[in-house]
Symmetry: none
DNA sequence: ACCGACGGGACCGCCCGTTGTT
DNA sequence: AACAACGGGCGGTCCCGTCGGT
């Protein structure tokens, strides 16, 4: 990897927390300069615009969360375990997020949905991957007989993500982990009572 | 000061959708001028700063939602009906919100939690009121014997709001009402299976 | 005197300290409103512009100093006493000025000489009156034989005003009355050694 | 940073006359842009604020005068000659100032004394240097026996500066060099009659 | 590859003045 | 006679992006 490539990645890593915390409109190039220690010229060598950098910073932040998901999901055997692992990642997202600022998908979805179509498209794509993970877990559980018949994987995915993202929002708003814990607990009961055969 | 008061309220009403859609940092005074048809001088006669206006626009937007809640909640007799009514308001929030842009509490919570403490405090306060509504409904259900003993109203409130706000986020992100419908359905099942005696 | 006339004078009295301290360019209409307790409409009823008000406030401030001069000069008998009285008024101008902010002629001369010809003309006129007072005192001293022959009243006036205004400036700059005292002492010696026959 | 340093100095040199003539509050950034030929971005690259620029422009203007003083004072042998040289610099200050607008210390002292503490502190410091020059000249005169015993250098400094600055004010107000000439003449007599042994 | 200098313009806030109303 | 309401525009500051230099 060339030196330039490394710098480029460093910029992304250092600005992802910035954009995740203050948003795209709330972050200025001055903030970016401060976060990276580079001057404008140094940044524009690697990115054609602030928007391009923000997009990649979002992709990076989303990937950081995905990585945590992959890490936990692959080592789980049963579908139940995998769904629980998914929920536990969100517990971290609220309390000890991989990228400071909480859940990048939630943050960016809210900021972009009426104001930045390009960014919104990125969030949709990342969100699709998350939903697939849950859908796949559910399908596996259906295939192995772990889950009761008739379950709609899509519905389960919506329920999971909605509840968890909402819990993240509440815990971050109140700076109190209790809300995300209640969300996880809610889903845990849901798995046991509704999903399992 | 008859006319001024009216203008002031008109400014708030016309800018609430703006701030709710583009956020505090994403909305400029030029946007406000365009939305209101007034010049800066005319706006600054009623508000000392953009921040002051944004705070009041948020209060207004939150009050609009609260009004819908009050309207539906007061005419419901049972606790179950009131919880269902609460959920149904969120269905509207995602699809046909009283103030364009979705849920002002969700939007503002996400934008402010790392970037604007004053705004965040406002959201907290508004969110407290919402939680109280649910808690009160649950307490009523407990008192009448409608709900099973041992229910923690606080926990129910967290579960409701998390699930619904997350559903709003998903439906707005995908421009698809199915997600908020699934969230409401989720909570409907929850009421029937877990809350009722 | 009509009520309007009284308000008008009140405005002038209340804004003279403002303009004398912060200058014409440094004083805003907001400052004027605060100083008078009136709103813009109340002020523009009596003055067609900020400039017009500032001109009259200057005239008033200059008149305040002139009044002190008249008060002291009329009760003095000899030319020496009158010159000393003139100097003593400047001692007050630096330490306990009739209009807060020091000498209005000095302040306004400095601000206006390159920036505001109209104001500058007013200062010139007021300064002419001051110089005449000294010139007259000198002429009287010459007529009575109190002063030595050959004295140029114009020269004495320049020397007096220059020394005193410079002393005021220094004492106000350092917030230390010693400088104006030294200036007065300087002129006292000058009177005794150079002017008297 | 060869070029930038040069531009920075050019900005200071070009704005010093502006601030000296129209004052800090009377000079706008538009004036600065016009004087320098740069846009706001180009100016703010070198100075963090208008205030910072004004402070440095004052320092520059004060240094310009000081330079003239140094030039004349160093080549003079006797204390008398040095005091006369000091006075002659003020003659120029009124008629043909090194920085257009007259004496920067006088101008800035008057504008800042009630309105801008930071600027005022700068003036005080520069004025201290001037007073030291006179005090040193007097002390030298005392040491060589040129001046009569018992002279207080501090008093002489106050008298000189007060008289000269007041003379500058008058000459600039009237656009007539006669007043500063009279002030210099006054001090010349003072030197001969009062200071010399 | 990074920095420095600069443009052109948008930002929010405040300016001074006018108008309509009471 | 006083004020509230508003316009039109300038205030200083900071924005994002470009380009030349090293």
């Amino acid at each position: 990897m060339r030196k330039g490539e490394k710098t480029r990645e460093r910029i992304i890593e250092q600005t992802a927390p910035l954009f995740n915390q203050k948003g795209f409109f709330g972050s200025s190039l001055s903030d970016v300069m401060e976060a990276t220690g580079l001057k404008k010229g140094g940044i524009y060598n690697h990115f054609v615009s602030k928007e391009e950098l923000a997009l990649q910073a979002f992709d990076y932040a989303a990937a950081c969360v995905s990585e945590r998901l992959s890490l936990l999901l692959t080592e789980r055997q049963t579908a139940v375990e995998r769904l629980l692992a998914f929920a536990s990642v969100f517990r971290d997202l609220a309390i000890n997020p991989p990228v400071p600022g909480g859940c990048p998908l939630l943050n960016t979805a809210i900021e972009s949905d009426d104001a930045h179509p390009v960014l919104r498209e990125r969030v949709r794509h990342a969100m699709d991957r998350w939903r697939e993970r849950i859908q796949n877990a559910v399908r596996d559980g259906l295939a192995t007989g772990e889950f009761r018949k008739g379950l709609d994987p899509d519905v389960v995915a919506s329920r999971f993500i909605a509840t968890l993202e909402g819990g993240v929002m509440l815990s971050r708003l109140y700076r109190d982990p209790v809300h995300i814990h209640r969300a996880v607990e809610f889903l845990t009961e849901y798995i046991q009572k509704d999903l399992c055969a």
